[in-house]
Symmetry: C2
Subunit: 218 residues, 2 copies
DNA sequence: TAGATTGTTAATCGATTAACAATC
DNA sequence: TAGATTGTTAATCGATTAACAATC
């Protein structure tokens, strides 16, 4: 099947399917209909069937979908069995949090190095991964065939870091910095996170619910 | 104007506008056209004008928009001058990272307490905010009129934590746990973050670019 | 077989883009 | 005034939902 023209909305829902199917499997439920799955996903049966059919006919008429089979199909579609080599740059608060918190190997990655410029923490480890000098990052990425980077450096260092990594062959960026990685890196895959944006939209929605925002207009 | 029916897509773009306008202001640029702004936003002039017009006519024909004025309008629309009292629950890796990393007071919040159940860290501080015993969270939230919670607890503790907080009057949740906060809390405003989902979609997109995923199908 | 539920096409809805008259 | 650029309406595009024949 042709995966070229699958919409971004569908892709964004795949991890959700995956999560809920994993839960169902843990509960030993081994079949589910698009209707039931849509209740869990808080979408519609139509959407579930449309989504899954982008990748193939995983269901059986009159029966529904096999939970373990569907879960595995989605894992394969996402490529979770991969181990893309990844580095994390910037072992400050958020970087350390991310490095220690994420289950990279269940998500298609292997964290092979952490980099920082703070001499005091060089040589330390987070989850058995060493913190190394950021000056050596370029060589390290080339030597180890690193494909992905998780950016947790300050904004001021962001552009330079991305350039260095990109030139060292890194083509996938999960970017927590406030620097916006735009279209300057043609064949790169980028996700700009912007945690602050989330808090701001939450704030807006809270004002809305509270009906307070009128005061602001005066 | 009626803000009831402004689409979620528009709201989600507001923080982006705000960020870029802040940058422009820092560069002492004080006017901008929808065309130029759309280049920065990587959208279209039409969309910029549509978006801004949801909230009022901030522009001037033949001139464009005043950068400082527009920036301030958006800050007001988002309600960034607010100081919603907020607590963070779960001072593990990611919780500590978030607590130390975010500039809450510039985003409409004031972090007034951090809660955990690990006795060893109780009494410690992160950015001058004390880590307190989670057993006291309900009383604390009532007494201090807390409206928002940032959830960084393990999945197993998530539901109980949300219930407790909701009953103590907290109606806004920024949820980093793997527990999905659904429609069970009618008047609550919720953002489920799911960092893992982002990494999974990134992985998919990387497979796509690399053209590798065919192997998985065999 | 009858009931259930898929895969898929068609209809609807919402969001984005284009166009242009109004006006600074 | 002429040029630029908005605010706003209309056209397009894409994504979601509904419908239903196919079939297990």
């Amino acid at each position: 099947m042709n995966r070229e023209n699958i919409s971004k909305s569908v892709i964004r829902r795949l991890p959700r399917y995956y999560r809920f199917l994993t839960e169902l499997e843990e509960k030993n439920i081994d079949r589910i209909s698009s209707g039931k799955l849509s209740e869990i996903m808080r979408s519609t049966a139509s959407q579930v069937r449309q989504d899954l059919n982008c990748f193939g006919g995983f269901g059986h008429q009159g029966y529904g979908y096999s939970v373990p089979k569907l879960r595995e199909e989605i894992a394969n579609i996402l490529g979770l069995n991969r181990h893309y080599k990844a580095v994390l740059v910037g072992a400050g608060h958020i970087g350390t949090g991310i490095a220690a918190h994420m289950n990279f190997d269940k998500l298609g990655y292997e964290l092979v190095g952490i980099f920082d410029n703070n001499e005091e923490i060089l040589g330390a480890h987070i989850n058995k991964v060493e913190i190394m000098d950021v000056d050596n990052i370029s060589k390290f990425c080339r030597d180890n065939n690193v494909s992905a980077a998780f950016l947790c450096v300050p904004r001021s260092a962001a552009k330079k870091t991305v350039d260095t990594l990109y030139n060292a062959g890194v083509k996938c960026f999960w970017n927590f910095t406030h620097y916006f990685i735009g279209g300057d890196y043609p064949d790169a895959v980028v996700e700009n996170v912007h945690l602050s944006d989330m808090l701001m939209t939450l704030c807006y929605r809270m004002n809305e619910v509270n009906g307070d925002y009128e005061h602001e207009d005066e």
